[in-house]
């Protein structure tokens, strides 16, 4: 995965709660067997509305998504993350994320940043006011900054290290190959094999 250290960009303010992965990428577009090319279908239904925030020309080229609570609920489709990445997003800032979606972001290299609701409100309002507001997400110092906003965020050391280095999980796991062998050899005999 692509390393993430620090990133500055403009943002899209998606001021809705409980945005589910069926909205992020409708199921009919899950049929691709490639990992790329999902961007054009991101938020497809909502984008039919010319006033939808992603369609506004002042948000063209934005690389940070500001979202509401419980972002990414529903289906486990990692395609939703790929669509966000393919569209050009590098980080998502929200008060909370659905578990599987957050996991998928961390595997794919899209940084999910949890911020307090009040901070999110301030950022959301700042970008609604001025779409050119630059936002910086600094993973090294675990902080988000924008004009008038300085906010620390929490991320565990291990995940942060993986993002900073752009490390592949399979490679990390294979360091424990011996432990896997040992566990495997001790599994009870009644467990089913296909």
């Amino acid at each position: 995965m692509r390393p993430f250290t620090t990133h500055t960009g403009t943002a899209v303010p998606l001021d809705r709660s409980d945005v589910d992965t069926d909205q992020i990428l409708p199921a009919e577009h899950l049929k691709r067997v490639e990992r790329t090319g999902f961007g054009p279908f991101l938020f497809e239904s909502w984008r039919e509305d010319p006033d939808f925030v992603l369609n506004k020309k002042e948000h063209l080229g934005a690389t940070i998504l500001l979202a509401g609570p419980n972002f990414g609920s529903g289906s486990s489709r990692e395609h939703a993350v790929w669509a966000l990445e393919d569209h050009g997003f590098r980080a998502i800032l929200a008060p909370s994320f659905a578990d599987i979606f957050r996991n998928n972001c961390m595997k794919a290299g899209l940084l999910p940043v949890r911020l307090p609701s009040e901070t999110m409100r301030t950022l959301m309002d700042a970008v609604l006011e001025d779409p050119a507001t630059p936002i910086t997400v600094d993973l090294a110092s675990r902080a988000v900054s924008a004009p008038g906003v300085e906010a620390a965020f929490e991320i565990d050391d291990f995940t942060r290290w993986r993002f900073l280095e752009g490390l592949d999980d399979i490679g990390l796991t294979l360091r424990h190959a011996e432990a896997i062998d040992v566990h495997e050899a001790a599994r009870p005999s009644w467990l089913p094999i296909v």
Binding site: K31, V33, H176, S189, P192, V194
Partner: protein, 459 residues
């Protein structure tokens, strides 16, 4: 120290644990389907990796498959062919269309006895939580994680917190497992279980059949939970007896000893506890665009409490204050990994016997697996559905999600036994109301939402 069911199963699967890192867990069963796997197999090929345990991996086709005669669309065909090629190349057993063992991934695992208490089961599908009904720890994963499990048979995971949802008392007549879980989600919210694994407890849960417990655990994800579990008991052990992959003879005795040791110890504590009085539950219908937006069938569409509810009402074409019984669907869908099992089909057929679907309604009955289809036919259920005016289909995910030919047209309203009422879930612009199989069947007859009890005397 006293432990919960979840804590025991988790601990028994830890391969490696280190301070500040996620635990590395061993996966006992990996279920694979056509939608979330192609990029994972590609990743293996690119890195020159193999599948570590093809014998603990099983694949089926479900999301894309047409359930009526006729071809799948070319893009779906490409995805199904990719799965067939990948399974052949990596030595994975595949149940493809035309095979009697084919069906929805979460229906066939339990049916074959592959799902057993205390196992750790994953699949690139959020409804993997279904398998928790057996006291297994089962959860959905993304495609990168699918690749990780294929390559290593393990998965690094942060340990979730524990939550007990206890439903105590006798379920009122007419309240099904689907009403239990919809009632739970309406109370705790679609984010209420986030970061937690839920253990469903209490006499009302114990009284459910395995099919009912699967329905409850299936929708754990709709409450945001990582997984749902029910402690294994005699109901579980009876279900597993003589399933093709369940242990037999001396193995069964040893397995039973282990399975009996899994239940939460007296005195074990949960990070969060929710108690629900079974007597307060009733048949319900979702009115909005997430499963938490659910009302009692006896009730009305509620006043919108916030902007999200307002948007949901607009999308659903409903007005606050409308009695649920006055809402008239165009389509009835009975099926999915939530309610596509034999017991569900029996419940619906019991309502439909001797009655007709209201004129102008489209009604689909879609068994969860081809074996369930065969079993239903051997009981004559197909005749009941057909005589009532239902289409009787082959197994697949069908109208639960808009990935195959079964979908809603824009504005079309559906009474559905599936699990998600998100905008566009059943087809762009489609309006989904989640209900139990019995309510779906009664609604098909009446033409508006109702319970079987409302149909007294209606043909």
């Amino acid at each position: 120290m006293a432990q919960t069911l979840f804590e025991k199963v988790w601990e028994q699967h830890v391969v490696h644990s280190a301070e500040g890192e996620p635990d590395l867990l061993y996966v006992d069963l990996h279920l694979v389907h056509e939608v979330t796997s192609p990029q994972a197999f590609d990743g293996l090929r690119l890195a020159g990796r193999t599948v570590r345990r093809p014998d603990l991996t099983v694949a089926t086709m479900d999301h894309n498959v047409p359930t009526a005669p006729g071809p799948a669309d070319p893009v779906s065909v490409r995805q199904m062919e990719a799965l067939a090629r990948n399974c052949a190349e990596f030595g994975i057993r595949l149940f493809q269309t035309g095979d009697i063992a084919q069906g929805i991934v979460h229906v066939i695992g339990p049916q074959m006895g592959l799902t057993q208490p205390g196992m750790l089961i994953v699949c690139g599908d959020s409804h993997t939580s279904t398998h928790g009904a057996f006291g297994a720890l089962a959860f959905g994963i993304g495609t990168s994680e699918v690749e990780h499990v294929l390559a290593t048979q393990t998965l690094p995971q942060e340990e979730p917190r524990t939550m007990a949802v206890t439903v105590e008392g006798d379920l009122p007549s007419g309240v099904s497992a689907k009403d239990v879980i919809l009632g739970i989600i309406a109370r705790i919210g679609t984010n209420g279980g986030a970061g937690h694994v839920v253990e469903y407890r209490g006499s009302a849960i114990r009284s459910l059949s395995m099919e009912g417990r699967m329905t409850v655990c299936n929708m754990s994800i709709e409450a945001g939970a990582r997984a749902g579990m029910v402690a294994p008991d005699d109901t579980t052990f009876a279900y597993l007896e003589e399933r093709p992959h369940a242990p037999t003879g001396a193995d069964r005795e040893r397995a039973l000893d282990h399975w009996r040791s899994l239940a939460t110890d007296p005195g074990a504590t949960f990070d969060r506890e929710v108690e629900i009085d079974a007597a307060e539950l009733s048949p319900c219908v979702s009115w909005g665009t997430n499963p938490g937006q659910t009302a009692a069938l006896d009730g009305v569409v509620p006043e919108s409490a916030d902007e999200a509810a307002e948007r949901a009402l607009a999308y659903m074409g409903l007005e606050a204050g409308t009695p649920i019984r006055e809402i008239r669907p165009d389509t009835i869908f009975i099926g999915s990994c939530t309610n596509g099992r034999l017991e569900d089909l029996r419940e619906a057929a019991a309502v439909l016997r001797g009655r007709r679907v209201r004129e102008g309604l489209r009604a689909l009955a879609v068994p969860g697996s081809m074996r369930i289809k065969a079993a239903a036919e051997s009981e004559g259920l197909d005749e009941v559905f057909r005589a009532a005016g239902f289409e009787w289909r082959d197994a697949g995910c069908s109208m639960c999600l808009g990935m195959n030919p079964d979908r809603l047209a824009p504005g079309e309203r559906c009474a559905s036994t599936s699990n998600r009422n998100f905008e566009g879930r059943q087809g762009k612009g489609g309006r989904t109301h989640l209900v139990s199989p019995a309510v779906a069947a009664a609604t098909a007859v009446a033409g508006h939402f109702c319970t079987p009890a409302d149909l007294e005397g209606v043909r």
